[in-house]
């Protein structure tokens, strides 16, 4: 039996060696074991390559378009999935009939890397990795091209339950939920990516220790979201830094399916944080988002019944530090197609200058906080966000649902108690 195995490995190695020696081969320039897929390679051959991938090996696509009818699944440590470059190697799932995700990497696939290819029109998520340590995307482009955004997959680059995540220099266009979505993970860097035409550009959800920097989120429904949701294995999102990003012109009509958490987000939002603690937002350029530049909200704003939440879940944002950002041209035309946007629209004239405040805080206080009656018990701080960065405590705690204009009556716009500084959060370092 051992002989058979040796024979099989030998024949595989021979095949890939041969591929490596031809001039413009997929494996060209790769050091170490590599299995190449040249244009015209059958889906079966590619899936077989993924099935038999050796630990630490490279699976390389050559230039050209590769069509798939089934998800491509990987479970192996240390594998690099690479192409010849964005728009040079295109993994096309427009004819997919089986499986939901495009590239699905299963638990225990530590050290997986995606690099230098385009993946388009997957039915579900484009690339998803679960339960793995050391996950890296670089120079990957995800695109959904169908005119009807509702048919697009939810997430483009999607690690969940992972540790040591690096997502960089990638592009996502047209995600029906979040272009880049990091869920229930820890130790994360998301940098220098571009996301457009998606509902949320980037979402960090139920995650710990994340640096989101240098990204460009333009022409989405909302730019960057930092959320925490109940009933999940990892809750209590915290220590997230969002800095030096551009969140501009995110005014795309929300096309998420109702029921998805992002469906509540009004079009025209730069940045939202929900139910996290220790979040620092600085050095960003947040401009021309028509509903509002930033929002700090509790889970109560989802409309869910707080009395049914598990005791393990904390629905309030605390220790949020939003400072030294550029916030201009936001809040001029709130989204009439979402509940929250409509509410802002109803009360637009109550906001200073008739423009929705750039610093929106829902004002819902944890009743169990020792100083709940204090001036700023949840430690929500704003500072140096420019003269256009007006503040509003929306006082949703006093909001009367039967009377939409009560929002304008109860909200307060004196920023004094919320003009404060917090200790800078530490940078994330990857091993």
């Amino acid at each position: 039996m051992r002989t058979l195995l040796v024979a099989a490995v030998a024949s595989l190695a021979l095949g890939s060696l041969a591929a490596c020696h031809s001039k413009a081969s997929a494996c060209g320039g790769v050091t170490g074991a590599c299995v190449g897929f040249e244009q015209g390679a059958s889906e079966s051959a590619i899936a077989t390559g993924f099935a038999q991938a050796a630990q630490g090996s490279t699976l390389a696509f050559g230039e050209g378009t590769f069509k798939f009818s089934n998800s491509v699944t990987l479970q192996q440590k240390g594998v690099t999935i690479k192409g010849a470059g964005i728009d040079k190697s295109v993994l096309d799932f427009s004819g997919q009939t089986a499986g939901s995700d495009g590239l699905l990497v299963l638990d225990g696939s530590d050290g997986v890397t995606f690099a230098d290819f385009t993946i388009k029109d997957t039915k579900g998520n484009a690339t998803k990795v679960t339960g793995s340590t050391g996950v890296h995307w670089q120079r990957v482009k995800v695109q959904w091209t169908a005119a009807d955004g509702h048919t697009h997959g939810p997430y483009g680059l999607y690690p969940v339950g992972c540790k040591n995540v690096l997502i960089e220099n990638s592009i996502v266009i047209g995600a029906a939920d979040s272009g880049i979505y990091v869920g229930q993970s820890s130790n994360i860097i998301v940098r220098n990516n571009q996301v457009s035409q998606s509902v949320a550009g980037i979402e960090i959800e139920n995650s710990f220790q994340a640096d989101v920097m240098g990204n460009n989120a333009t022409d989405n429904t909302a730019g960057i979201l930092v959320f925490d949701l109940p009933n999940l294995q990892q809750q209590g999102g915290h220590q997230v830094r969002v800095f030096n990003n551009t969140m501009t012109g995110n005014n795309r009509t929300n096309f998420a399916a109702a029921g998805d958490i992002v469906a509540i987000v009004p079009a025209g939002i730069g940045f939202f944080v929900m139910a996290n603690h220790d979040v620092e937002v600085f050095g960003n350029t947040i401009t021309n988002n028509n509903t509002g530049a930033t929002g700090v909200i509790s889970y109560a704003l989802t409309g869910q019944d707080l009395s049914k939440l598990p005791a393990s879940y904390y629905p309030y944002p605390t220790k949020i530090n939003i400072h030294d950002n550029v916030m201009t041209g936001n809040g001029t035309a709130p989204d009439p197609q979402t509940q929250l946007g409509t509410l802002f629209l109803f009360n637009k004239s109550a906001f200073s200058g008739g423009v929705i405040a750039a610093e929106l805080y829902d004002g819902i206080i944890d009743p169990n906080v020792a100083n709940a009656a204090g001036a700023n018990p949840m430690q929500i701080c704003y500072q140096n966000n420019g003269s256009a960065a007006t503040f509003a405590n929306l006082h949703f705690d006093q909001f009367d649902q039967s009377n939409p204009t009560s929002l304008g009556v109860h909200m307060t716009q004196d920023a004094t108690a919320y003009t404060c500084a917090q200790t800078a959060l530490p940078a994330v370092t990857l091993p």
């Binding site: 024949s11 009939t97 039915k123 579900g124 997430y155 009933n231």
Partner: protein, 359 residues
């Protein structure tokens, strides 16, 4: 090449040459199968006889109380353990099978659901074997002549059709899973395992050649299972479509367990969703009651919760069971047709589910 030939002849030797002269026995010389054979016949597990998949000598066929729905496929399941080895009984989890154990599950489609004795188009046989490095799953595609099935690592989508009860043609894109897709369902905390052969799902009778017997009793009797209690006191999963075996709640939970809980458990592929559908789960939110979705995308169908008590028409679980679109359908792989009766059972369960309203 010389080596490969040598390996091939070794395999032929292991399998004992002509079956007419010498019974073909799994594992041949008594050792076990540790790497996949290229052809299914080399395992000596099953053969086609008069259009049916039948177990070979020393191989035990079995059924489950509530099986996974697989696009209306006919399924034949077998197990073989190395000589002298036994599985250790467990009341809750899958049994601890010895290294060398081989399972097969063969998938075939009836040509015409109106026929009493339809022709079965056998498409694939999946082999789950326990090697030194743990369980591994492989799919073997039957050839057109149904003389043998060949290992297919990559998986493929096959067009399958049949005539349904009304005589209408049904076409599906049947998925033969890739090697890694086997893991998608069979992995728990990144370790492959069996799913079906648990005490509660095996605890039923089977028509053996020598007479009908309870499967747990039979397995103990033939010496492949140790530590099993009397079948009457062993746990028993209801038969999902037999009302005499359990309430709607119990049968629906059994159905959800076998069709969903291999991923939807705290250690499976869908752990991150927080939706957990094993029969032992008691937290109503965890099994879907008024639970908002997490990463469903368009698969919410515009609905707010996985299960809305009393309102299956607005529940995401039923929405997804009723769909065959890859982006919506659950289970995510292995279901290209809608299980109408299963969907009805789950709808009935949600109709009677306590805990509403959700808002």
């Amino acid at each position: 090449m010389k080596r490969l030939l040598a390996a091939a002849s070794l395999i032929a030797a292991a399998c004992g040459g002509s079956a007419a002269q010498k019974p073909c026995t799994p594992g041949g010389d008594g050792s076990y199968v540790s790497t996949p054979f290229n052809s299914l016949t080399q395992y000596c597990m099953v053969q086609l006889s008069a259009g049916a998949i039948v177990p070979m000598a020393g191989v035990t066929q079995y059924d489950l109380n509530t099986p996974l729905f697989s696009d209306y496929a006919v399924k034949t399941r077998t197990v073989w353990l190395p000589a002298g080895k036994t599985a250790a009984y467990d009341a809750i989890n899958t049994f601890d099978f010895p290294t060398g154990t081989v399972f097969t599950k063969s998938f075939g489609f009836k040509d015409d659901f109106r026929k009493t004795n339809p022709l079965i188009n056998w498409v694939e046989t999946r082999v789950l074997l326990k090697s030194d490095s743990g369980w591994q799953g492989y799919a073997y595609l039957w050839n057109q002549a149904h003389t043998d099935a060949t290992l297919d690592f990559g998986g493929r989508v096959q067009s399958i059709s049949w005539l349904d009860e009304a005589g209408a043609t049904q076409n599906i894109n049947y998925l033969v899973p890739s090697f890694n897709q086997c893991k998608q369902c069979h992995q728990t905390d990144a370790v492959m395992n069996t799913i079906g052969p648990k005490a509660r799902n095996l605890n039923r009778s089977f028509p053996y050649g020598e007479g009908t017997d309870n499967q747990l009793t039979h397995w103990a009797k033939i010496g492949i299972l140790t530590g099993a209690p009397a079948a009457a006191v062993a746990p028993r999963l209801p038969v999902w479509n037999d009302p005499s075996t359990g309430s709607v709640n119990d049968r629906a939970r059994a159905y959800l367990e076998t069709n969903c809980a291999h991923c939807h458990n705290a250690h499976g592929a869908a752990a991150s969703t927080g939706l957990s559908l094993g029969t032992a789960v008691t937290d109503p939110t965890a099994f879907g009651t008024c639970k908002p979705p997490v990463a469903a995308g368009e698969a919410t169908g515009g609905n707010q919760f996985d299960a809305v008590p009393g309102d299956p028409a607005h529940s995401i679980i039923t929405y997804r069971l009723a769909s065959t679109k890859p982006s919506i359908a659950m289970p995510q792989i292995g279901r290209a047709a809608v299980d109408k009766d299963g969907l009805q059972l789950v709808s009935d369960w949600i109709s009677g589910l306590p805990g509403g309203p959700c808002h």
